[in-house]
Symmetry: D3
Subunit: 282 residues, 6 copies
C-alpha cells in the first residue's frame, strides 16, 4: 500500500502469462530431456551488485504461474537494499519448473530492480532539497504499471499514468489553441473541474503567462538552471513547479537546488539498466 495503486491480481497474471508464452512456448526441450521426472531442487536468487529491490512479488508469481506447487521465500522485500551476494529469494520445488520460469522471472525482476535502483540514486542526489523525483509516460509498451510501481519502490513519485490521467498542456496544445491563456481557458470550460491543469513552458515569459492564465502547476521544459531559478523566484511558492527535459544524475542536484518542487526524469523508465541478478540452482 502507500503505492498510489495496487495491481489487480488478474492483471498481473495476464502480464506474466503473456511473458511465459513468449518464452516457453511449447516447452523447454533441454530441461525435459535432461531432468529425471519429478526431480526437485532448490535455487537462490542473488544480487551481484548493490541494488534496491523491486518486483520481488512479480518474480514470485512467475514461478507460481508455471507450477503452483513451487515455494518461493522472499528474503529481501520490495524497497529494501541488497548488496553483492545477498540472497533475494529462495525457490524450491520441481527443478523443471524452476528452470522453465527462471528467465522470465529474472527479466521482470532485473528490469524492476534496475528502475528502482536508478530512481533511488536520483532521490539520494536531491536529498535535503524539496524536489521530488517523478517518472514520465516514457515506459516500455505493455509494462507501464510495473515500471511506475518500480519508480515508487525506489522512492520516486508517479506522474500521469496515461493521457486519461490529468491535464498537461504541452507546446502543441498551446500552438493549437493560439496561446497559453486560451488553452487554459478552453480546458477550464471543457473538462477540468476535478483535475489540476499543468502547463508546459520553455521560458520565463511562458511562466508568467501560465500564472496569469491560472495554471495549477507549471512544467519548466528544457530550461537552463538560471532560468529555473528565476521561475522559482517569480512564482514565489504560489503553485508548484516541475523541471523536465533530459535531466541526468549529473545535473539533477543543481536543478533541485533551484527550488523546483518536482523533477521528472524520462530515463528512469525509457533507458533502464537491468540490475545484475542471477539465479543459482544449489
Amino acid at each position: 500500500m502507500k503505492d498510489g495503486f495496487v495491481l489487480l491480481p488478474h492483471y498481473l497474471r495476464k502480464l506474466i502469462q503473456r511473458a511465459l508464452e513468449e518464452d516457453v512456448g511449447p516447452g523447454d526441450a533441454t530441461t525435459a530431456a535432461v531432468l529425471r521426472v519429478g526431480q526437485t531442487g532448490r535455487a537462490v536468487t542473488l544480487a551481484k551488485a548493490g541494488i534496491v529491490v523491486a518486483g520481488i512479488d512479480v518474480f514470485r508469481e512467475v514461478f507460481l504461474a508455471v507450477d503452483p506447487e513451487i515455494v518461493v521465500t522472499v528474503c529481501r522485500d520490495n524497497g529494501e537494499e541488497a548488496g553483492n551476494g545477498d540472497i533475494l529469494a529462495e525457490i524450491s520445488g520441481r527443478l523443471a519448473s524452476i528452470l522453465m520460469a527462471e528467465r522470465v522471472a529474472l527479466n521482470f525482476l532485473q528490469r524492476m530492480c534496475g528502475i528502482a535502483t536508478a530512481t533511488s540514486k536520483y532521490v539520494a542526489e536531491v536529498k535535503g532539497t524539496k524536489a521530488r523525483i517523478l517518472d514520465t509516460r516514457k515506459t516500455a509498451p505493455g509494462l507501464r504499471l510495473l515500471d511506475k510501481l518500480a519508480v515508487r519502490t525506489g522512492g520516486g513519485g508517479n506522474h500521469r499514468f496515461g493521457l486519461y490521467h490529468g491535464i498537461l498542456v504541452k507546446d502543441n496544445h498551446i500552438a493549437a489553441a493560439g496561446g497559453i491563456a486560451s488553452a487554459v481557458a478552453l480546458i477550464r470550460e471543457g473538462v477540468s473541474y476535478m483535475q489540476k491543469v499543468e502547463v508546459e513552458v520553455n521560458s520565463i515569459e511562458g511562466v508568467e503567462e501560465a500564472l496569469r492564465a491560472g495554471a495549477d502547476i507549471v512544467m519548466l521544459d528544457n530550461m537552463s538552471v538560471s532560468e529555473m531559478k528565476k521561475a522559482v523566484s517569480l512564482v514565489g511558492g504560489r503553485i508548484p513547479l516541475e523541471a523536465s527535459g533530459n535531466i541526468t544524475l549529473t545535473t539533477v542536484r543543481e536543478i533541485a537546488e533551484t527550488g523546483v518542487d518536482f523533477i521528472s526524469v524520462g530515463a528512469l523508465t525509457h533507458s533502464v539498466i537491468a540490475a545484475d541478478i542471477s539465479l543459482k540452482v544449489e
Copy 2:
C-alpha cells in the same frame, strides 16, 4: 524479409492495442478540450542524435490504430542511419489523433532504434573478424519479438527465441545430469534429432568434454580472453564457439579477435538506452 521472421499483422496489432489502452485509456482530456473538432495538422519525427532506424513500421501502425485516416510517410526506412535533425517520418491528419498516438508510437520507436543503434556499434566494433553479434532471451517481457527484430535491423543475429527454440545445455542441466557427457547423451536420445545441441562451459576442460560428448556448438561463458583463445585453438574449427557473459563495447573487439564465431550480448536488450527522437507538430 531476410529477418528470419516476419510479424503476423494481428500479432503486431495486439501489441499496439495493449500499449494504447495503457496510455490512452478513456481518452486524452487535454487534447479534447483544446483542439477544434476536426482540426488537422502535420508533424515530423526527428532524430536528435545519430541512430540506426528500427521499428519505423511499428511507429506507423500506432497512428493507424488510433485513426485509420492518418497518413504516415516513412522517410528513413528500417536499417538506415539518421543523424541529428534528420526527419524519420511525416505524419498528417486529425491533430487530436496525432497527439493521442504520439507517446506510444515514440515509446516503441525509441526502444527499437535504441536496440538497433547499440547493436550496430557492437557489429562495427567486431568488423573484420568472423564473429557475429547475437542477442539473448534477456528481453522486456511481452516485447521479445520486437526486441529481436531490432537486433537484426541493427546487423546482429538472433539467438534462441525461447526455450522451445533449440537446445542449450546450461550449468544447471549439466549438474542435474551428472556431467556434460550424460547431459548430451540424454538429449540425443530424447529430443534432438532436428536440433543442434549447444553446451555452455566455463573452462577449457568443459570445452574438451563438450567436444567429446558431441556438442554441435559450445558456449564459452564468462571465460577470459586467453582461455577463449585456447578454446578456439583446441576446437580448430570443428564446431562453432560462442562467447557469452557481461560483454561490453569495450571488451567485444578483443573477444572477437580470439576467433570465436558468435558473441552474445545480453545488454543489447536488457539495458536499452532509448534513442533520442522527438515529434514536432508543424
Copy 3:
C-alpha cells in the same frame, strides 16, 4: 471531440464483438432459413418518442462488424434531438446481415439515447443556475465509457472514470484516517500533487473541517437544501461544491438554486430508461 475522451477504435470493436457473440452465437437460424441467398434490403431506424441522440456511431459500427459491406447513413448525429417518427439512420445491404445486427445495435443505441435524454432533462431543469450535472461510477459493468460518453452527449459532465482517476475522500476513508484533517494530510503527503482532493461530507461541520484541511472540492452528500445553502454561503466561492445523493428530476432545480457548482446524479447511468427506438425493414 470536446468529449473529454475518444474511444479507441479497437476498444469499441471489442465491446461490439462481445455483444454480437452473446446475441448471434452460432447464427440466426430463422433468418438463414427464410431469406434468399444474397437478398438485399433497406431499413430505417426511427425514434418513437422525443429523444437526444447518442451512440449513433456505435449503432453504425455494429452493422459493419457483422458485414463490412452494409451502408449506414446517419440522419441525426449524436447530440441532436429527434421526435416521434424521425429517422435516425438508414441502413442498406444484405438483409440477413441487417437482421442479424439489429438487436445488438438497438441495445447499444437505446441505452445511450436513454442516458443522453435523461441527462438533457436534468440539464434543462437547472438552466440559468451555475450548477453542472455530473455522472457517477454507478454504470453498467463493462459499459462505463459508453455510459459516460452518453452523459456528455446529453450535456452533462463526467465525474471520475474510475478509482484511478482523481481523489475522492469518502466517509470510509475519513473513518479509517481518524478525521478529515488527517485523511487530507495523508493524501497531500502521499499522492496528490497533480490531483485535486475532493472530500465528501454530510454536515456543515464537515464542510468547515474540509475547508480547514485544504480540500479542493467538497461533496455535500445527502444534505438538505437548507444545509446546502448554508454550505454555499460558508464556502463563499473559495472552492467548488458538489451536491450528491438520490437527486431526482423533481429535486434537482431546488438543489441547483442553492448555488452549488456540481450536481452528480447516479440515476443517469444506474437506472437507465431505454429510449423508444425501432428498426423497420422497408
Copy 4:
C-alpha cells in the same frame, strides 16, 4: 440449479475482471494514501428498500477477484426478499481491498436485484392467471446472461438467449418470405426439426394464418386486449400464445387475464431501476 443455466466459473470471472479493470485501472490512489498497510475491517451490505435478492454470488466473487483472502458471508441468498435495513452480506478482510471492490460489486448487485425485484412485481401482478412472465433479448450489451439469470431469480422465465436459440419469425421475415405460410414452410424445410417455430403476428388474421401454417407458438405483438381475447378463443389451447409489446405493470394483469400463456416484457432488462443497496464499513 433449476435456473435453466449455470454460469461457467471462468465466464463470470472474465466479466468481473473486465469490470474491475474498468473501475480500478492502475489503482485506488485515495485508499492507498489513507489506509495503513494491512489495515483490516468489516463491512455490511444493506438493502435500503424492499427488494428481491439476485446476484449475491456475483457480488461475492468481485471481492474475491480483488483479494482472495476477503471473507464474504451471504446473509440473504438469491431469490430471497429483503427489506429496508436488512443485511445482505458481511464482508471482512483488508480494508483497501474492500473499498477497491465496493463499487463494482454494488454495480452488479444493484442491477441484478433491480431486475429480480421488477420481475417479481410482474409475476405477483399476474398471480392466479396461467400467464408466465418472460424476458427478451433487450439486455445490456455484455451482460445478457446475468440479466437473464436475474429475471429467473425474480420468478420469470427466459425467452431466447440469442438468435441462435430457437426460431422466431418476425414481421421482417414474413415480408421477406412473402407471407406467414411460406416463411414457416421455408423454416420447416430448412432448420427446425429440433426447434419450435414461433410466429409473430399483429392481427387476428395473422393468428389464423400462423395456425394454418403450423406454427408451434404465436406471438401477439402490440395487439389490443380485446384482440388478444379473440386470439385466445380462436386458438382454443391448441398452441401457446405469447403477448408482447410495451407491456407495463399497469397493463400486465389485464393482458394475463386474456388467457395468453406467456407475456414478454422488454422493460425487465432494457429499463432497469437499480435496487437501493449500500455498503457500510463498520
Copy 5:
C-alpha cells in the same frame, strides 16, 4: 445462407489468428532466408481425390490474415464437388506470405472438406428414404462451428450446437429423475416452453414411455434394426424418430429404411479423414 448459421467475421478471424500464431510463431526462418525480398508468385490448390468442397472461404481468409494483399480466387465453391487434379483456388502475391499461410490454410480446408465429403457419402447412401443425416456434439474442441458448417455443406443437418441449444433427455437424466415420465414432467415445468423435448431411449418400452410422457422427438440409441422398425411402426408418424449410436456407411442404409426421420453420426466429426488436397507453387 441456408446454413442455419453464418460465422461472425471476427469469430472466424480469431480462430485463424490462433492457428497462425500456433504455426508461424515468431516466423518462418526457412522462407525468410531463401526468398528475395518482395518476390511474388502464384500457387494453385488441387484436389488429389474426389471431394466435396467445404471451408474454401476459411482457406481464403487465412491467406488474407497473413497478408491482406494476397489475391485468392476461388474456383470451386463450398458444396461443389471436385475430382483428382481439379483446381480449388488460385493464390497470387508475395511468395513468403503464401508459404507462411499454406499449412494452416490447408489444415482448415482438408478437415472441412473431409467432413463434407464423408457427410455427402452418408447422404447419398440414404437417398430415397426420408432419413436426414445429422451431426453430434462430438467435434474437435474449439472447431465446433466449422465442423458443423462442413456437415451442412456436405448435405447433412445440424443437431444441437451445444448444451444450451435444445433439450435432450439422456439415460443419466432419466435415472436421476426416476424415469422418463418424471424427467419430461420436470422439463415441461422448468424450461421447455420454446424448446422441443427429445428423449433418448434404448428399447421399445422406452419409446412407449416417451410417447406417453409427451416427448416431441425420440432418439433410438443403439437399437437393432428390427427394434427400430417396431419403434417406427409404434409411433406411426406422430413424432419424429432419430437413430443414433455407432452408425457407419455400411449400416446407414438399412437404418434409413426402417423409416426413422433422422440418423445422427458421431463419426462425421469425431473421426475425420482429411481430404487429400495440396498446394503447388507454379
Copy 6:
C-alpha cells in the same frame, strides 16, 4: 517430463475454457431442469476397445474448470494401455457439473487417445528397425500442442512444432532459390547457426545434391521403397534420412526396413479416429 514440452497451466486452461464456452454456452437446460439442487453422483470413464491412454490430465482439468469441487481419480495414466471395459478414471461430485463437463472432456480424451493409439500401432509395426515415427504440422487448428503431446504419449516423436521451429527446405523453396545448393547456401548465410537444415527431395539426384550442399538431414518425399534403399546406401549413415508422404500402417514396415532414420506420418494427426470411450453415471 521427457515429453520435450510441458503445457503451461494457463495455456491448457484457456483451451479448455474455449471448448466449454462453445459447448455449454449459457448452460445446460436439460440437466438444470431434471436434477435436484446439489444432487451428487459418481461416474466412471471406460474404454470400449483397446487403447493407449493420452490426455487423461486434460480430461480431468475439464471437470475442474466446470466445478473445482469435483474429484477425478485417474485409474490409467497417460501412456498406459487399457482394454474394453477398463476404467480410465472415476469422477464424483455434483451431478450437474459432471454432466455439463462430460462431452467436452470426452472430446479431448477421445481425440488424444485416438492419436496415441494410432501412433503406438505405427511404432509397434517398425519395432526392431531403427526408424522412429514422427508427426507433422498437419494438426487440427488450435490443438497442435495436444495433438503432438498425444503422439509422444503413443511412443512417437515430434517433428517441428511450427514454422519458427527449425529449417525445412521444401520444393517451393528450392524452386525459388534456383536449386538445392543455392537454397542451403542462402540459409547458412541467413539464419541457421543454431538450427539443423533439413532438405526435402524426391529423387536420388536430390539426395546427392542435398549431401553436396551440406544438408544436416534429408527428407525423402514420396519416393519408392527401392529408391529409399538406394538413398540409404548412398548416404551411408553420414546424416539422418526421413521418409515422408502418404505412409500407412500397411506400408510403414517396408519403409522402415529400408534403413531410414525417421518416418513422418501426417495421418497420425490429420485423420484421427476417435478412441471409443464412454462415461457412465453410476
